[in-house]
């Protein structure tokens, strides 16, 4: 059981090293620097060293984007069933219960309406902490219901996305959510209702390959990992090391796949002027 020993110099100097107190310091996911947690929090959860944007909670995201107190949640009661009676090392039913208890949410997407600098929008925000933000029947249904309302009331749709992709535990039903959500976005497009996708770290798989890539405008947060296949799958397939900044937002921008990278602190203002254009 020498998990950490080999990295430490021998000679008993471990006592002199600064101890990272749980909660006080944290390690940046991107530059690996040790940073002061309070400083990160004051900085809209952005690393002061490398500008990496840490994931933020759904509540913080809503506060960041919408005018204070204007958010009204819809369809909060929608919850997943277990149509496949799926069981791997654990039952899907138990995984769901676990995630619901841990997050206080019914599933991985929160939807509702609110105002951005006075302008009405339909807003959806993904919660990565709920089974990796994965899309099953509930997420699919909520995207469609949000799009339907945006269409009915002729209000722009804004989705803040982070997801590992389709939820395997719902099998083919989760795959079909890709088609359903894309069809709903197609209806919005035909009715000329603007839809803005904001991609945050990380966004992958069946979510990227459906509504996430269908925005009239696609924004991303700096350094967010965004792709179709996960880096591990690609590495195993091609048996090569991947380029350093592969699948980062900057890489996607360079390849013409997204419209713009917007730092978190300027997101509301940018979003507001985009919405005003339509």
């Amino acid at each position: 059981m020498a998990w950490f020993k080999k990295d430490r110099p021998t000679g008993g100097d471990s006592g002199k090293k600064p101890k990272f107190q749980e909660g006080l310091w944290l390690k940046c996911n991107h530059c690996r620097e040790i940073i002061y947690r309070k400083e990160v929090e004051r900085n809209a959860k952005v690393c002061p060293k490398c500008e990496y944007h840490f994931p933020i909670s759904v509540e913080d995201r809503i506060d960041l984007l919408l005018d204070l107190g204007t958010f009204r949640e819809w369809d909060a009661e929608l919850a997943a069933a277990d149509p496949l009676h799926f069981k791997d090392t654990k039952r899907y039913r138990d995984r769901l219960l676990d995630a619901q208890q841990r997050t206080g949410k019914k599933d991985a997407l929160i939807t509702g309406e609110g105002r951005i600098n006075g302008a009405r929008v339909v807003l959806g925000v993904f919660h990565f902490g709920f089974m990796g933000g994965s899309m099953g029947s509930v997420v699919g249904e909520k995207v469609i219901l949000a799009a339907d309302r945006a269409l009915r009331e002729r209000v722009p749709l804004v989705l803040v996305i982070t997801s590992g992709g389709a939820r395997m535990q719902e099998g083919i039903l989760s795959l079909m959510q890709m088609a359903r959500t894309a069809a709903a976005i197609g209806r919005l497009a035909e009715a000329c209702i603007p839809y803005i996708a904001i991609l945050t770290d990380p966004t992958f798989g069946g979510v990227t390959a459906s509504f996430a890539m269908l925005g009239d405008v696609i924004l991303a947060e700096p350094k967010a990992l965004i792709g179709f296949a996960g880096p591990r799958v690609i590495e195993q397939t091609i048996r090569q090391q991947l380029p350093q900044e592969f699948q980062r937002a900057e890489f996607l921008l360079e390849h013409g796949i997204i419209d713009l990278i917007v730092p978190r602190k300027r997101l509301k203002e940018t979003l507001s002027s985009i919405i005003a254009f339509f």
């Binding site: 929608l78 919850a79 997943a80 069933a81 149509p83 496949l84 799926f86 069981k87 791997d88 090392t89 099953g136 029947s137 509930v138 699919g140 249904e141 469609i144 389709a166 395997m168 719902e170 099998g171 083919i172 039903l173 989760s174 795959l175 079909m176 959510q177 890709m178 088609a179 359903r180 894309a182 069809a183 976005i185 197609g186 209806r187 497009a189 035909e190 798989g205 069946g206 990227t208 390959a209 459906s210 509504f211 996430a212 890539m213 269908l214 792709g227 179709f228 296949a229 799958v233 690609i234 397939t237 091609i238 090569q240 991947l242 380029p243 592969f246 699948q247 390849h255 013409g256 796949i257």
Partner: protein, 316 residues
């Protein structure tokens, strides 16, 4: 040369015996009788094995190297076929084929994944795993169908969209997403047939349809059993368990309300009698296209939307 799957080993022995016996049949009295008996036993054994196929075994049949491919089906069921190439932007993807065809005189645009049979062919076809330009070629052909109001028939047979650096650079996710959206509103009937392996988003990207049909031994899933086992069981060796859990057979999809029809295969799988399989596929496509082409466009599109709108199960 027949290729046998693991669970077909008893059949292999019996068939070998049968071949030997029929070669020597004329030189011995009573041989005819033995032959008849042996054939009956073979048939019985085959029926038993195929009646009880597990989802994992069915996956292997769906992936069988000799299984009829998209081009086999097109060659057999279409009166003629003019293949069209390329996405007019980057390249011609050999993992997706498509073009203009006639089936019983009816003009159709036909598109499908192409896997290939020999190793050389399979490499040329990238094992049926398309890059973005493959999906964009498919979309170009579907728009052509839309413009000239010709129905679209697609054949699905892929392990999935190719996970490569170039694919990501050129927007694999965008290519798939765009197809899903455009197929949902394409102003012409679409019939999709899963002929082998329906691998995730890479399959769905040419599979949003008014009618979804599956061959009896085909599979369709959100992730391969191996991939699912590696992630959820942490052990790719648990693929048989994953195949079971994912509910990926034609029967499963029918139970889940996603499928419109299961097309029967000959005993032992489509590769045992490709003509039988092709004719069954042709008959089904004919019936569905005829019905769909009678619908007013608005009804067709509304029914397509409603069909997808209903999919999914929520807690009550």
């Amino acid at each position: 040369m027949r290729e046998y799957l693991d669970f077909e080993k008893p059949l292999a022995e019996l068939e070998e015996k049968l071949d030997k016996l029929s070669a020597a049949a004329t030189s011995r009295t009573g041989a005819q009788e033995d032959l008849t008996k042996l054939r009956a036993r073979l048939h019985q054994l085959q029926t038993e094995i195929y009646a009880g196929l597990t989802p994992w075994q069915r996956t292997q049949v769906a992936r069988h190297l000799q299984r009829p491919s998209t081009l086999d089906y097109i060659g057999r069921i279409c009166d003629n076929f003019v293949e069209l190439h390329g996405d007019r932007a980057f390249a011609d993807d050999h993992a997706i084929v498509g073009g203009l065809a006639r089936m019983n005189g009816r003009p159709i645009v036909v598109i499908g994944h192409q896997k290939g049979k020999t190793l050389k062919e399979r490499m040329h076809r990238n094992f049926g795993m398309p890059n973005p330009e493959g999906y964009r070629k498919a979309l170009r052909l579907m728009r052509l169908a839309d413009k000239f109001r010709k129905p679209v028939v697609t054949f699905i047979d892929t392990p999935g969209a190719y996970p490569g650096i170039g694919a990501e650079e050129r927007g694999q996710a965008e290519a798939i997403a765009r197809n899903l959206m455009e197929m949902a509103t394409l102003k012409t009937p679409i019939v999709s047939v899963v002929i082998g392996e329906g691998g995730s988003g890479g399959a769905l990207a040419i599979g949003v349809a008014d009618r979804l049909l599956m061959m009896q031994n085909s599979v369709y899933s959100v992730i391969s059993p191996e991939g699912c086992a590696a992630i959820l069981w942490n052990d790719a060796g648990k693929a048989p368990e994953a195949a079971e859990a994912l509910k990926m057979t034609a029967r499963d999809l029918q139970d889940l309300g996603i499928l419109d029809e299961i097309i029967p295969e000959p005993m032992g799988g489509a590769h045992r009698d490709p003509m039988f399989a092709c004719d069954a596929v042709k008959k089904s496509i004919e019936i569905h296209l005829t019905a769909l082409q009678e619908l007013p466009l608005e009804t067709l599109l509304q029914q397509r939307y409603d069909k997808y709108r209903r999919i999914g199960v929520l807690a009550t």
